[in-house]
Amino acid sequence: MEYLVVFLVLVVFLQTRITNLKRAVVCLAGQSFIIAIACFFLGLSNGEGIHALLPGILTLLVKVLFIPGAIYHLVGKLKNEREILSASNVNYSTMAAAFFLVWGYFIVEKLMPGSVGRDIIAASILMIMTGLALMVLRKRAIIQIVGLITLENGIYLLGLLMTEGLPLVVELGVFLDVLIAVVVLVILTSRMRLSFMTTDTSVMKKLKG
């Protein structure tokens, strides 16, 4: 489990530095894969039967295969697209992620001292905050979607650890929602490419006040 946390933190730090869209999507798939392994690990150590395996299988299908696949297909249609950022901006994101990690450990120590999954909780707080930072700071639609899924993964991991998985019906509903959300966002992004000739969200600033 400790190795998983190390890999997870590594992937999240990589995400703050990647500007190429395809690599960002691959990175997202890697992150979800780690979450899926964590699901299997926690599920099998806590219980047996279908409810123990189902979250892992669903994560594998939805978040590792379908979502990155759909975004990757969309990225294939975009030309000359990468996140335009100066090196300092990327460095700030990484610095912020480092700060979030320290802050995550601080919160865990403060709220639940001596809890078993201290590292995982800190890692999921890191994912939640980094996902938010990606959505707010980056301009490309694709990177914002990646940020959203990172945020969702973080909350999902936290929930998995705290409650050993939500009730089955709710779990299925949450996966369905994530699935539809990505479909809607992919539709919107491809429409954006048609109407604005770019997926840079900073061109959309007509609506104010």
């Binding site: 938010l132 959505m135 639609a141 914002q144 959203l148 945020l151 969702e152 909350i155 936290l158 929930g159 705290m162 409650t163 939500l166 009730p167 019906v169 709710v170 509903g173 949450v174 369905l176 929602d177 539809i180 959300a181 809607v184 966002l185 539709i187 919107l188 429409r191 954006m192 109407s195 604005f196 969200t201 959309m204 600033k205 007509k206 609506l207 006040g209």
Partner: protein, 500 residues
Amino acid sequence: MDYNVADLIYIILALPVIFSIVAAVNLLGKNVLHWLNRIFASAVAVAVVLLTLIFDPETPYIGEYIYLDALSMWMIIIIGTLYLAFAWTSKAYLDRDTNKRYGYLRRFGRLEGRFYALSHTFVWIMFIVVLVNNLGLMWVAIEATTLVSALLVAFKFTRTSLEATWKYVMVCTVGICLALLGTIIVYYIQLNFIGTDNPLDWLYLSRHSQEMNPALAKFAFCFLFVGYGTKIGLAPMHAWLPDAHSEAPALTSGLLSGALCICAIYVLIRNIIILMPAIGIDFISGLCLFFGIFTIAVAVPFVVVQRDIKRMLAYSSMENFGLMVAALGLFVPVALQAMLLHMFNHALVKYSLFYTAGTIMEEYGTKNMMRIHGMMVQVPKTSCFLLLSIVAILGMPPFGVFFSKFYMLYGFFTVDHPWLGVITLVLLAGMLIGILYHILRMLGSRPKRKSSGELFGYVDSLVIAGLLIFSCVVSAGLSQLTVLNNLLECAARIILGGVA
């Protein structure tokens, strides 16, 4: 014919989804589609009326996944009324778009099926939000409403509607994810302090709400409040609201403003009922009052300087949601009943306002209020409806909103918050001045373009008039309408924690 509660609930849940599948297949002709839409919605409305008549507020219906009590019944009445209004106004709205030279539907053809499929699914999911018994499923349904309505907001795929939808999905999904975190914490509390039976079941949790841990409950409530507050459109998280309401097709704006944000308030209320015994009333009441009044205060200046008519209406919705949340924070029966009544009145009046505004926009070819003059001379019937609905939403005496706003403000003065009441009154007065200034400018002065004839047909005039009169009759004659009066009293009791 004899029906029981379960049958009627299944009818209400089945019909919209059947129609949306039929519409999504898109094999039927346009006229058949319009009529089927009306027939299905009317059937649902009849089912809602029957359900209201046979449902006893004191004995909630408990199914495996469904829970129906007075509070959810009241929400079903609101959504059902709007559904009926939607179905009977949609043909006129869509035809107007088709007949215009550069209308979107004319260029792309046969998009009616898609529009109907999405709209009916949207209404169906809102019925689910108010009928499920599980906090987790409520979360799932609220998130699903965001996604379905996003496709409706972006229906015409213009540049501005894409921008609005992107903002809507991003802001609301982040907010709703925080609410998921809050729900997870509630589940954690349940596992550790109450037991593993009936996971996240609302009724079970509300019966055991005394056993929760206060610190964790407060933590969960903060996330839930921010999360669902984003969806309601409370002030610091409101960025998506004016964009989405102004860029959506008028029918969708009406449903968004009238029903969707109300559903978010409903889910917040359900969570508050569970968490209140553990947290204590002061914390919740303080948060609700502060953010409610802050929302009104943010909305007022934007209304005064507004140029876009639908944005102005969106800010007016924000003001009403702020008032509702503030009244919720008072926790006295008078204010709570008035709040529930205000949900109903606001939904009906705002739907008719958005519909009227959408019609004017289509005919005048602009949303800019500064470019619309002399409507009273050119289109007397439409301007009459516009003026009546505006007067209604501002809370002038003969209309329903007057009663609900009056009792909400009365609530402020009964619970030792007179100064907050005075501040709210001043802000509402600012709202009134801002909106009336803009609308009277549009209605008065000399027309500067050729008249295009009357805008409203028979059916939509009847629907709009019906909505206004219905809200007026229900609010003014509430004490005579025993069925609704009992329902409201019982719902207010449920919010205050007296679960049957």
